[in-house]
Symmetry: D3
Subunit: 133 residues, 6 copies
């Protein structure tokens, strides 16, 4: 159980209810996931994070599936179970199959490996990589 | 400077030379980046990591640009300067513009944020997310 | 279950018993929490960590509640469930309500976000920030 | 240098200029720090992060100094140099002296230590810590 | 349960079966651990990671027990439960007793502490430490 | 430069001077490294961390070189430059050659990789690994 008492749907009102309704409509789901019922214990955070996610995950130069897979990559690196499971589920819905997940995880694993090698040996950045702006 | 003395190209021979030649040919570059000259101090690691990266980064279900952007996401989360700069440079070569990098970083930032929120509140995983296999 | 067999209270003697008694008295609790029964498998670590925590968490320029909230911030960033739950409980005892926890988590989330943005873009430190000593 | 070309003040217009002006006014400084000139390469991110920080860092149940110290705690745990230096500078301005920084860092260090001990031994959460909501 | 459906032994064939057989023979165990049944959902990753581990963990300048203890150190720092438990079990088999685990964890805890102190204060590297190559 | 003004040797007195003298004698060096001159800005932390390190790094069931290599493993995973460089230097003094460092880094890299794979796929712990106490 979370470290706060979640705000259940029937207890939601005001700005919390508005966000809950928007989550269910935007996602096309009939329930409010636990992360939102937890953040609702601090309404300004609920509102800010939900608005941020809606904006960040909207289709743009990168498509929603790519964005969900990047979310899985970040969450796997940080080891956030809730986030790994929810973003994997979201990516599945958008078409990620085992082969794509396999490639995603292979990339995530490889660069967690090389990150620790480059840091551990304190490899100096090649000047060819310095001017990417 | 790295914590080992790198193996410069003119000092490379045997399996190290072979990997160096393959790196320059595969990448179409006229020099060997520092990470490889560092790993060359332990030839089995040089060989294993290079073979692994060639295999993992090859086009598959995910395209090379998506893979490089995932590498940037992982490296940003771990804060590996060498890796951030080299993979950003690689993604640039494959067509990533400021807008795409902006969306990538927005996603990376957002989920580093929500990862710490989900963990910090110890949010329980919704059962709807448990069955993704 | 832990990866070692914990030292239960009835089996404790010598320096382990002394620390156990001090923990119960200092904290005003009738039991010894699992972290201490685990560290007791290596008595010098038990003694050193307990003495360190007593000293570090004592009131000083920062008050105990602020210190417990910083402990929650660190533990949330590292995703240590035991630590998140025990320090949240300790902060609750010292008066942290949902609003304070909400602000704490909002700050923790925000800076986990901006940390990855500053690292991911490799933003150069402004010289105005260099001279804080 | 950052991995993108920063938007200098003289090149800023539209929503970027508005944010730049607000930053300088809100902070009472005559320049725009590099993090914002970097995020300005993706205007929706600049706007969202700045609005978020203004809201999150405003005085509430926690005072601004406590919030800046929590920012230092998170940034030290993640090792973000830019963030450590900028939030340490901000906390200094708000009155943090060497003694307070010393206590802050002692707490940060201690719980990075105990986090790895609790995780490394896989200590089970005491039931007394489970009901904090 | 994992985020993919594991490949059970009776369903394994081709290169997956070969790896499974090699794992059981090399480790002298009568079952295939879950990590391998999970990686088998992406056969090239299964093959690459197993070959890598066999090579990396073979006796060399460092003995297998030291290598398993380093694996516990890394996994404790990253908080990977699966990895902590499996490498602790492997180290136990190779002779690690509670005293050795206690010293290992004391070292892991201490340097997670000092890492955050050195980063948090942004301590400059002494020139005496720069020339280790 | 650090975020505090370090206490130089000539300005040290009382408990700070005692620790400085002990560091130089114990380590057999003619100077005080920057980490200690930084921690000296908060004398109780200086004293506690130095006493802790002396105790933790003393020969025991694990030898000092193994302990220094574990310190390098933790510091590489956390990316603490100061710590990587100082512990690599210490391990070199105790006899670590390029081959040993190569094996150490190969192990560190491999398990940073598999940590993210086990977490990313949320692999369930085999019951065979649960009873190590």
């Amino acid at each position: 159980m979370a470290t706060v008492k979640m705000i259940e749907e029937k207890a939601a009102n005001g700005s919390v209810r508005e966000v809950y309704d928007d989550i269910k409509e935007t996602r096309g789901i009939g329930y409010v996931p636990n992360i939102w019922k937890t953040l609702a214990t601090h309404p300004p955070t609920l509102k800010r994070i939900w608005a941020g996610i809606k904006s960040v995950m909207a289709p743009g130069s990168l498509d929603p599936l790519t964005k969900e897979m990047i979310a899985v990559a970040v969450s796997s690196t940080n080891n956030c179970e809730y986030c790994i499971r929810s973003h994997t589920a979201a990516a599945r819905k958008l078409g990620m199959d085992d082969e794509m997940l396999g490639e995603l995880m292979a990339v995530v694993g490889m660069f967690n490996q090389t990150n620790s090698l480059a840091n551990g040996y304190q490899v100096e950045v090649d000047e060819q990589y310095m001017n990417t702006g």
